[in-house]
Amino acid sequence: MPEESTPRRERKRTVQQMVIVGVIATAIGIAIGLSIHWFPPADSTQADQIDTLWDVLVIATVPVFVLVTVIVCFSVLEFRMRPGEENLDGPPIHGNTKLEVIWTAVPAILIVGLVTYAYVVMRDIEEAPAAGNERVVTVTGQQFTWTFAYNEGGKKFSTAQLYLPAGQSVKFDVKSKDVIHDFWVPDFRMKIDAVPGITTHYRVTPKNPGAIGDHPIVCAELCGLGHAFMRQTAHVLSKPDFDKWLQKMTAKPAGGGGGGAAAAVDAKALFTAGDADTGATACATCHTLADAGAKGQVGPDLDKVLKGKDAAFIKESILEPDKEIAPGFQPGVMPSNFGDTLSPEQVDALVKYLSEVTNK
């Protein structure tokens, strides 16, 4: 039904208006996109590059979204059916080869550019530093905790928290004891799965001095019940502080974790404050124990659940906490790596202390 009425719209002006609105909207969109505080602090040299890539992606993609949205909105405004047009049809336009070539070629060019840039960034953030200037830390994931193993000048020790010097590249060898985990430090931007059977890697250089402080470590791959709680801390220390810490750790006997070499272990202090050197969590953070004045609510009340239990049970509960779970609590919450991060002396002292105070 060819309609003889006047052309429905003045197209030239519509296009002009659309271009103007589109340019303004793009500018506003990019401004918003760049001003949103997207990322956590950028505390590794790798982080800066990834954050810049993000900004480039925002600048490159906002115009695409604006283009589509503006055309949809203008079509709705300009070409919506008005009263009396119920039986009107649009013009039978079947295509336009020139346009189709343009909207194939332009996105293709954009994509080639972005992919090339992303490739360059990838090469940069994974590049190894000059030989000898890198520390290796072995990160082992297990349900539901991370253990960090150091090998410093032949001395091996393990910790429950990650300690790194600022300004020096560190390579993580990531392993898993059971299922797949993912070792992620959001402030460093890097992550990799911990896969049973293979060792995976990545490297970061914490910024000096910007990164000095604490950074959350997160498990990013669903690993079971305690996945959400598999959070620990990376402590970035200044070079002198780190060296001091290293000295303290390597002065201790090899194997096991920290713990006084000769001095008797103060089990009560260990219970309330944890081990500051390895970062082993204090029992008191989660448990209640009247003798130590601890009032933690996350785990079972030790005054109650340990009453009448023998030393072997207490030891098992520390080393393999998921073997027997107190009623009303979930497995997978308590770290299962105290065998690695406490020395045998520390464990024995804790067992002795706990069985004394709960069986009074």
Binding site: T69, L222, A228
Partner: protein
Amino acid sequence: MPVALRVPGWWRALEFTILGVAFSYALTIGLRALFGYDPLLDGEAVLAVALLLTPLFFLVGIGCFDYWFYWASGRPTRPEDHSGHGARSWRDYFRVNTDHKVIGVQYVVTSFFFLFVGGLLAMLMRAELAAPGRQFVDANTFNGLFSVHASLLIFLFVIPVFAGLANFVLPLMIGAPDMAFPRLNALSYWMLPLAGTMMLLSFAAPGGSFASGWTAYAPLSTSAPIGQEFFTIGVQFAGASSIATALNFLVTIITMRAPGMSFFRMPLLVWANFSTSLLVVIATPFIAASQFFVLLDRGLGFNFFNPVKGGDVLMYQHVFWFYSHPAVYIMMLPGFGIISEILAVKARKPIFGYRMMAFSLLAIVVLGFTVWAHHMFVSGMQPWIRVPMMVTTAIIAIPTGIKIFSWLATLWRGVLHLDTPMLFALGFLTMFTCGGISGVMLAMIPLTIHVSDTYFIVAHIHYVLFGGSLFTIFAGVYYWFPKMTGRMYDERLGRLHFWLTFIFFNLTFGPMHIIGVQGMPRRVYDYADKFATWNLVISIFAFILGLSTLVFAYNMIASWRGGPRAVANPWRALTLEWQVSSPPPIFNFDAIPTVVGGPYEYGVPGAVHGVFKGAEVPAPAGTHATTTAE
């Protein structure tokens, strides 16, 4: 024996289900006795066998195999008896029926049931996530909630609802009296409720429902409690259903087009389902394989994924994603087809660049098989694989871009009828563009290293599957509602539904981009305190989004029961399904149509897509359309 237990139907299905359970017990106990295992009764073994066999017994009982059994045993099969064809009352929708229109409605209604169940699970998740720490479910239940939510919505909603819509519409569109294999079609449908019931039943399993996500990564899934098997086996039935339907579509499209319906006169919905079916037939066996690996690892100690015994953990992911990436397109291409139909009709213009639209679908099919490992950028696989996968992933944006721009050009200078289907189609255009953009961002390896496994991914897939797929599904359901039910839906409620969905969808999933980049991992039931505010906000908007679906449910139910009668062609569309009455006659066409032109010749004076020769070309029931070609 009472008649009810001998004729196909629910009583016989119940009888056979009980038989199936009994047989599973007998088989397991018998085999264990034979091999001298102790104890004879092993719950997990019985369950695995029962989950595999009982559904088959049920299918026999309800009557899916009667015809084939008659034929195989040499009894008369009564080929001209169409008693199992067409619906005469609502009860016929609860029986094995071979009419593609009945099956289409069964599919759509069943999958929408699972949409509501899956959505309800999402509401429970958002309630738990409203504040850090434990609210009202424990970690195990929460992991189960998101696992079942995703599995139901992927395998029991998005994939089958598209199969359902196409089941109803596609034979009509190509001028065929039915699908090529009507009995196979019925069998495909009946496997679905079984798969869905199985996944829901997992909540009753000791140790809770399956809780390793819809991805069921090994070795978490191979070491999980028994609830995992409900997923492992449920997926097999959903997958088998999907493959059988896809074969049916392929054969129907290739062999049963009306005279004159060349491939390049087919509506784009037919092209889209042709492409999707190719993907399903090639890719779906891979997820079946991945889950059989898990089943064999769990049940029989095959150690496919046990590194201590030489197993390879990463292999699971490669096999799984070789299906599950193409699955993303299985969940999107049919929606592309729906949008093409609606935009052409509602803008009163031909689809811009019809051939490029068809070719870009095929390009996506081919490219879709070359990108699977982009889900594994941080999996620890060989690092070099990441680069070619990044390139192919980015390239997929080009055919997708061609489709978006062609749709925009279709709108331009049209006469836009802004009713509910059109609003959802336009909403799809903008929201899917958003999801596509975050998809291109995710192709970039360095960015993905940071955001993979975070809420940014959750936001991305919901923009693609909710803002993308679900918007097209809503659009399609509103668009074909008059044809399927013979009634008109309530336009005002439809628009209300659109605006509520559009606004609260963005408010729910938009902020997830931000908390994802900030560092909130996905699949956690507890999170750092700094994400608390956003999570509360998201939860509140999610509840409103959930409530908005009630408007849709009310509109559909009330309009189906008492809406005004629909005319044959309320949208003045050219495609063939609108040239017959609403709802269509039992064998679709009283006279076989001859196709004389393209499907979208809007604005061309006097153009028609198909002509009906009238009474001189009678179409005997059950005859193939092609046999009457001149």
